[in-house]
């Protein structure tokens, strides 16, 4: 099958029952995390044709021809996006396992709503479970990233 991942066009051999999560990890996109495998936690979130989805509940073959962005595709070399910078700054990353999914989800959401309130962000993150932070600092990180982008 053919996909474009983080701007790089590539051919994959996949099994018919393989999830997009498994195919991505097998192709070294290991920033996409395996946690629940049932679309409950958001740790495997990737952007497929402009929309953040849980890659654990989508078959790889469904992404035929799609353009996919993973967390690895956000930074340009050493230069982090404002969202990644904001997450790195205030201690909003603890174990880090949910963070790629949060960063991807929040990045995608800001493309649709550039002026979110704290409440908006708390609702966007309903699909991103975190067991470490209590969500306060990650939500603050997104708000800071918004402020940074506005500046």
């Amino acid at each position: 099958m053919h996909v474009t991942v983080n701007g790089v066009s590539q051919e994959w051999e996949v099994r018919p029952n393989e999830t997009l999560l498994d195919a991505l990890r097998r192709n070294a996109y290991t920033g996409v995390k395996r946690v629940c495998e049932s679309g409950e936690c958001g740790a495997c979130a990737v952007i497929v044709d402009g929309l953040a989805i849980d890659s654990c509940i989508q078959l790889a073959v469904q992404a035929q021809g799609a353009s996919i962005f993973t967390v690895e595709g956000l930074a340009e070399g050493e230069v982090l996006t404002p969202m990644q910078e904001a997450f790195a700054e205030n201690g909003s990353i603890q174990c880090g396992f949910c963070i790629p999914g949060m960063v991807v989800t929040a990045t995608n959401y800001l493309e649709q709503n550039g002026m979110p309130t704290e409440d908006d962000i708390r609702h966007v993150f309903i699909g991103n479970l975190c067991r470490c932070t209590g969500y306060k600092k990650p939500v603050e990180a997104v708000l800071r990233a918004v402020g940074g982008e506005r500046r």
């Binding site: 290991t30 930074a75 201690g91 174990c95 880090g96 963070i99």
Partner: protein, 781 residues
């Protein structure tokens, strides 16, 4: 030495933040291994059964199956999975694989295959014949005369009374509780119950084992205890410690569930047998069913009080369900008593407990380590006592809480490990915690104003203490070497499992060595490095390993100033190390880089290596005053937490971002424990809710407003005055919310989680009671 701190106390960026924000490969399963085999487990389908036979013929015939192991293929060596110091104070009652199933899901065989799919297919073809046995599915039945014996095998040892299914037992008394109760004006006796809680680390248990080019067993594993893991694995496999090399990559959450040797032994056996890399990774269902949980308990408190609010006696009995194995059985329940009981000045105290085996899921270490259970009971109990004495519960606590200079005798009587001795409080910031917390929640304004209508409001509070490491049972060793560019490699044995300890330890080293945090390159949790550590548990790393790194950095600093002194022809005694240079009072200076080059290539020809080891019998408690404001819907029984204020005495906040994060995360887990989380087990011993859909942890939209206040009552025995922070706050939400619900509705909730049905049942019971009391009054008149 300079006195002003430049790195300690700052919100330094976490040293691992960028790699996580960019999703770089960092965790156990993020590497590529050529020829990796995938493991799937054959799991017992009865809560209690003997394995009569296992037929693997059909499974072995599946193309791509490389190996299958059963109990016949592993050493028959009893061990404990509890990652504790040697000899572990938990019974040796587990086997890598056994011919008996003691709970639903107990592994009986393991398949290694070329792909996970093949392994799964083969698992389905393994035929196991069982002889089902009667099971213990309620901890209250475990000790009864007709209960089936769960550990009847002769090899296991270290149980208190295996014939009665008692894994461990505690019985200590200080003073004379009966006399204390006789002297009391009020005797309050109440029972409390708490449930199984699952850690739900987002990264499941996962281990990759392989043999290196010298045929040593390399264990790349998601663990909190690299060094215990090395020792325990060598023991269980009956191979020398030197043949095991444990590497802890980044860990996606531990919370105690990875203070256990869980996936390592089976992966190791398969790697040794096949000579190929082998991975064993739990599925989410396996995390929920066969990993570890917080111990369920039934608690009974009997306490005596004087009219003036003083406490004459406090007796705690605990019945604990350890599940089929006694991992952390004694020590978790030990903390259920030794943490809450000494919080109140009481001349007479009793603490006794039975920790029993059942054929239910395995209990184990979980953040708080027995204290959440104990504090729920104690803090709801004290709140009720204060009310019955006509005292404000906050004033009652102010009057009775332990103070600086006091001695905790319970630690000496029932503490764990070799450090049993009275614990003197060198610092106690509780008064400030209570004052500032009360102000932040607006206690005096909001208390006792439930309002009317469907939604009622209330505020409640509790106080807490924990420890900083296991008193007398900790050792940390670290080494630090200086490079040409004034960077330093810091090797520690501790395990940063997301807590931020790598960052904090770098800050300690950077502060002493006068360099920015970026100059410290930390490597933690690799057993081939020059380091040692008991691991990330008991809130020990900042206090124990932090002091150890302080010593290592100080050792390196001494070597640096000696060389710099010779370079500048100055007395090393008066030299200052700061801003990447060494300066004298006469205004001379050399850069650290010059010193490093002089050491390595100049006249000195030496390597600056700082060494630190630290062990102590101290374990200073951090303290918390936690306040909760809730809104309760009296139609539905739903409790909405609105605001949680945590005022936390951390001694010194080495990094405020990290301290706040630990508190906020602990509060979130504590909220789940209080309100929504419970592993439910059916009558057949099966876990009924092994998914995030059916096991409800708090999500971002559920969270109340969080206010975290860091109080710094400097601890003289801690690094830069620091105590611990990681666990304590998890103890608070349950009692604070129960007490807030009482303020709102006048009902006492003594069973967790505080679900809507329990609220409605308590409201009904109160209504019946009021009606009954009314009838009784009429009868008398």
């Amino acid at each position: 030495m300079k006195t002003e701190l430049t790195v300690i106390g700052t919100r330094a960026r976490k040293v691992d933040a960028v790699k996580h924000a960019t999703g770089r490969a960092a965790f156990t399963d993020d590497i590529e291994m050529r020829g990796l085999l995938h493991t799937k487990l054959v799991k017992g389908s009865y809560p209690h059964a003997r394995v009569v036979s296992i037929d693997t013929t059909a499974a072995r015939a599946v193309p791509g199956v490389v190996d299958i192991i059963t109990h016949a293929d592993v050493p028959r060596i009893p061990y404990t999975s509890a990652g504790q110091s040697w000899p572990e104070p938990s019974p040796y009652d587990m086997y890598i694989l056994d011919s008996k199933v003691r709970f639903v899901g107990d592994p009986v065989a393991a398949v290694a295959a070329e792909t996970p799919e093949i392994a799964r297919e083969a698992v389905a073809l393994v035929r196991v014949e069982y002889e089902p046995l009667p099971a213990v599915l309620d901890m209250h039945d475990a000790m009864s005369a007709d209960a089936p014996r769960i550990h009847d095998e002769p090899e296991s040892y270290g149980m208190f009374d295996a014939a009665r299914n008692v894994a461990a037992h505690i019985d200590v008394e200080i003073g004379d509780v009966e006399r204390g109760l006789a002297e009391a004006d009020l005797v309050l006796e109440r029972e409390y119950s708490v449930q199984y809680q699952q850690h739900t680390c987002l990264e499941p248990h996962v281990t990759i084992c392989f043999l290196d080019e010298d045929l040593r067993l390399v264990v790349r594993t998601s663990t909190q205890i690299p060094y215990h893991c090395r020792r325990m694995l060598a023991f269980a496999l009956d191979i020398p410690v030197r043949n095991v090399h444990v590497i802890k990559p980044r860990v996606g959450g531990g919370f105690g569930n990875k203070q256990e040797v869980v996936t390592e032994p089976i992966a190791a056996v398969l790697a040794l047998r096949t000579g190929r890399p082998v991975k064993l990774e739990f599925t989410r269902t396996e995390e929920f069913t066969i990993a570890r949980n917080r111990h369920p308990q039934h608690l009974r408190l009997r306490s005596g009080f004087k009219r003036d609010g003083s406490i004459t006696a406090n007796a705690l009995y605990v019945l604990t369900n350890t599940g089929p194995y006694g991992t952390h059985a004694l020590t978790v329940t030990g903390n259920t008593g030794t943490k809450p009981l000494p919080l109140y000045r009481t001349p007479n105290m009793k603490f006794y407990a039975d920790i029993v085996y059942t054929n239910l899921p395995i209990s184990g270490a979980f953040r708080g380590y027995g204290a959440p259970q104990g504090f729920f009971a104690m803090e709801v109990h004290m709140d009720e006592a204060a009310g019955k004495l006509g005292l404000d519960p906050l004033e009652f606590r102010r009057q009775n809480h332990i103070r600086k200079g006091d001695t905790d005798l319970m630690s000496a009587a029932a503490g764990e490990g070799s450090g049993k001795k009275p614990r003197v409080m060198h610092s106690c910031g509780l008064p400030e915690c209570i004052d500032r917390g009360a102000q932040a929640i607006d206690w005096y304004e909001k208390r006792g104003k439930p309002g009317s209508g469907t939604l009622r409001r209330g505020v409640g509070m509790c106080i807490l203490m924990q420890g900083s490491g296991v008193a007398g049972d900790e050792l940390a060793a670290a080494a630090l070497k200086m490079n040409e560019d004034a960077s330093f490699n810091l090797m520690v044995g501790s395990a940063d499992i997301g807590t931020g300890s790598d960052t904090t330890l770098c800050q300690v080293a950077a502060e002493v060595l006068g360099v920015p945090v970026e100059n410290i390159i930390i490597s933690s949790g690799d057993t081939d490095h020059i380091s040692f550590d008991y691991g990330a548990y008991a809130s020990s790393t900042a206090y124990i390993t932090g002091t150890c790194v302080l010593k290592a950095a100080e050792d390196a600093r001494q070597q640096i100033v000696a060389v710099a002194g010779r370079m500048m022809e100055e007395d090393p005694e008066g030299l200052l190390v700061h801003d990447c240079k060494v300066t004298s009072l006469n205004g001379k200076s050399v850069t650290l880089q010059q010193v490093a080059l002089e050491c390595l290539y100049g006249q000195e020809k030496t390597l600056v290596i700082g060494k630190g080891t630290h062990a102590t019998k101290e374990s200073p408690p951090p303290f918390v005053a936690m306040f909760a404001e809730v809104e309760v819907d009296i139609e539905t029984g739903v409790i909405h937490p609105i605001h949680i204020v945590s005022a936390v005495d951390v001694g010194r906040a080495l990094n405020p971002d990290i301290c706040e994060g630990q508190v906020e995360g602990a509060v979130a887990q504590g909220l789940g424990y209080a309100l929504t989380e419970e592993i439910k087990v059916g009558p057949d011993g099966r876990v009924l809710n092994p998914t995030f859909m059916d096991y409800k942890i708090f999500c971002s939209a559920d969270m109340p407003k969080l206010t975290t206040i860091l109080v710094e009552a400097e601890e003289p025995t801690g690094p830069f005055g620091a105590k611990s922070v990681a666990e304590i706050a998890i103890n608070g939400p349950a009692p604070a919310i129960s007490n807030a619900v009482h303020d709102a509705l006048g009902i006492r909730l003594r069973s967790l989680p505080m679900t809507p049905d329990k609220v409605l049942a308590a409201l009904d019971a109160r209504e019946r009671e009021t009606a009954g009391a009314g009838a009784a009054t009429r009868e008398r008149t």
